[in-house]
């Protein structure tokens, strides 16, 4: 549904995205993960027909984003990071305006449907200016869903929401991903882990990793990290731990608290427990710490040479003359 080849976009002399290629299939939720200024918003803006790329090709739903921009825009639902709303319109008026621009035949039915989907039926006649951040986000989502698009592109859909709302929006995205292609960007790793079928990690305009959240995790986490805690006396335990086969890199966090890694493919826990108890220590805790996507992300982006200071490219209007 989304096909991107060697896409590059320059802002003046600065390269925002640098020859990235990826694809997203039907009924797939693809997560775009990266720090601020990595090029997520720029890529989305190219895919939605907002701006043409400097080089490379991209197609959405089978249409080229440059040559057949209007066809692409008809089939994509887009929610930008700063939700574009008219504060002096009511929710209904706003959605009706967008429905008219999209020439929807049964605009009223479509509006009722999307309002129900985002649980805002009772706020249809309220002015947008009076809505909270979370509700505005939902209106933006309603706008993106209005024409039942094949492809949904969401830029930071959960930013600025409270935990309950975040949970709700994530569930909604997962629900939507059953019937359509969803491309969402986020800098929250747990979000990508929960919601997405596949994750692209992007840094400084390049894709540094691409896989399912599970595979990414196991790729790096070949060895297991285990946490151990004893009560009372712990003198000499470090040496005992080191002697257990399969234990590597013992770290003492504080007296009685240890962390160590195991040789890949070996579960050293039973051996460690036996060794600790037979040496007379009081074993209190022994559990594996799995490497989170957070660690993977840091590991992948740390390997890059030092990144120069990134300007905020998200604000398109900041380049323009402001008197």
């Amino acid at each position: 549904m989304i096909q991107v080849e060697e896409l590059t976009k320059d802002y003046g002399l600065r390269r925002a995205i640098d020859g990235i290629s990826f694809h997203a299939d039907k009924r797939e939720i693809l997560g775009f993960l990266g720090p601020n200024g990595a090029g997520k918003t720029t890529t989305m803006r190219v895919l939605t027909g907002y701006m043409p790329p400097t080089a490379g090709k991209a197609s959405v739903a089978g249409f080229d984003v440059v040559e057949q921009s209007l066809e692409v825009r008809r089939r994509v639902g887009y929610m930008p990071e700063t939700v574009p709303l008219y504060p002096d319109m009511t929710v209904y008026e706003y959605l009706k305006f967008m429905a008219d621009l999209r020439h929807l035949q049964n605009a009223e039915d479509n509006i009722d449907d999307v309002l129900e989907l985002v649980h805002m039926e009772d706020r249809a006649d309220g002015y947008i200016v009076n809505l909270s951040k979370g509700l505005r986000q939902r209106v933006g989502l309603a706008q993106a869903l209005l024409h039942q698009p094949e492809v949904l592109i969401l830029d930071e859909p959960t930013i600025g929401l409270d935990p309950a709302q975040i949970h709700e929006v994530r569930n909604l995205i997962q629900e939507l991903g059953r019937e359509r292609t969803v491309l969402l960007s986020t800098h929250i790793l747990s979000e990508a882990q929960q919601v997405c079928d596949r994750v692209l990690i992007i840094n400084r305009g390049r894709i540094v990793a691409e896989d399912s959240p599970e595979n990414l995790q196991s790729r790096i986490a070949g060895s297991q990290r285990i946490k151990l805690k004893v009560l009372g006396e712990s003198e000499g335990l470090e040496n005992i731990l080191r002697q257990v086969p399969g234990v590597q890199k013992v770290i003492v966090n504080h007296p009685g608290g240890y962390e160590f890694e195991t040789t890949p493919g070996m579960d050293a826990r039973p051996e460690v427990a036996r060794a600790v108890v037979s040496a007379g220590y009081e074993l209190a805790e022994l559990y594996p710490l799995s490497l989170s996507l957070e660690d993977i992300f840091l590991q992948l982006t740390r390997d890059e040479p030092n990144a120069p200071e990134m300007a905020d490219v998200d604000d398109f209007s900041s380049d323009q003359l402001d008197l």
Binding site: Y50, M51, L70, R73, R74, P84, L101, F316, S317
Partner: protein, 243 residues
């Protein structure tokens, strides 16, 4: 066409919930009323019957200052608010956006102009045997064409900035430049002077419609200025995408 109408009607309705638009319209009508009153008094004092020119003359000058206040928000506000991203990713062509904005602003200006009709109607009552209807009709047709060009220039300038104050003063500057362009006529010789006079946005009105004559070349001039300004506005939106 449908998108143009959708955009224009939203814009038109928006003016009626905007206090700034009411303020501008009220100011134009009040100032025009005061000038109308003194002009009619002057005509009575000098013993000649006033005609529609006592309304049309000051109206042209007032439009110079009020039109930028009406057009300044058209595209600049979309930029500032971030809703430009919404419109540029909706299935709307760039020219439809610009023409829709122009039409919305133009229709609002026409509603203000319709209200100034009060003065010629009043004049018709107090002058015996009534005012020259032909002059009134040609004058208002000219004013409408003149306004179409002013609004189009306003839209084009509005596409350049996200700050409405900047749009207001730049638009006003463009109007003044198109007014004062024929000042150095004498120094330019016959051909150059003729060209400068042709460029003058105001002369085309004063020498034709204002005198009661509907001149085809003046009609074409105003329609061309409108089309050119809308074209430049569309170009400016397109360039914005490529940056």
């Amino acid at each position: 066409m449908r998108n143009i109408w959708t955009l224009a009607s939203r814009e038109f309705k928006q003016y009626f919930i905007s206090p700034a638009a009411y303020l501008v319209a009220a100011m134009l009508l009040v100032v025009l009323g005061i000038i109308f009153y003194t002009n009619v008094l002057g005509a009575i004092f000098n013993q000649f019957p006033p005609n529609t020119q006592v309304v049309l003359g000051p109206l042209v000058t007032l439009l110079l200052f009020t039109t930028p206040a009406i057009t300044m928000r058209l595209l600049a506000e979309e930029q500032r608010q971030g809703t430009m991203e919404l419109l540029l990713t909706a299935p709307v062509r760039d020219y439809e956006l610009v023409v829709g904005k122009w039409l919305g602003g133009f229709l609002f200006m026409l509603s203000i102009l319709a209200m100034t009709w009060l003065y010629p109607i009043f004049l018709n009552q107090i002058v015996d045997p009534g005012i020259d209807q032909g002059l009134m009709m040609s004058g208002y047709l000219g004013i409408a064409l003149f306004t179409a060009a002013l609004v189009a220039i306003g839209v084009a300038v509005s596409s350049l900035f996200s700050n409405q104050i900047a749009v207001f003063f730049t638009t006003l500057g463009v109007y003044l430049a198109l007014w004062l362009v024929s000042l150095p006529t004498q120094a330019m010789g016959a051909a150059g002077g003729g060209l400068l006079r042709y460029l003058n946005l105001f002369d085309h009105f004063y020498t034709t419609f204002y005198q009661g004559a509907i001149d085809l070349s003046a009609v074409i001039y105003y329609l061309s200025v409108t089309a050119l300004a809308l074209f430049l506005g569309t170009m400016s939106i397109e360039i914005r995408r490529w940056r």
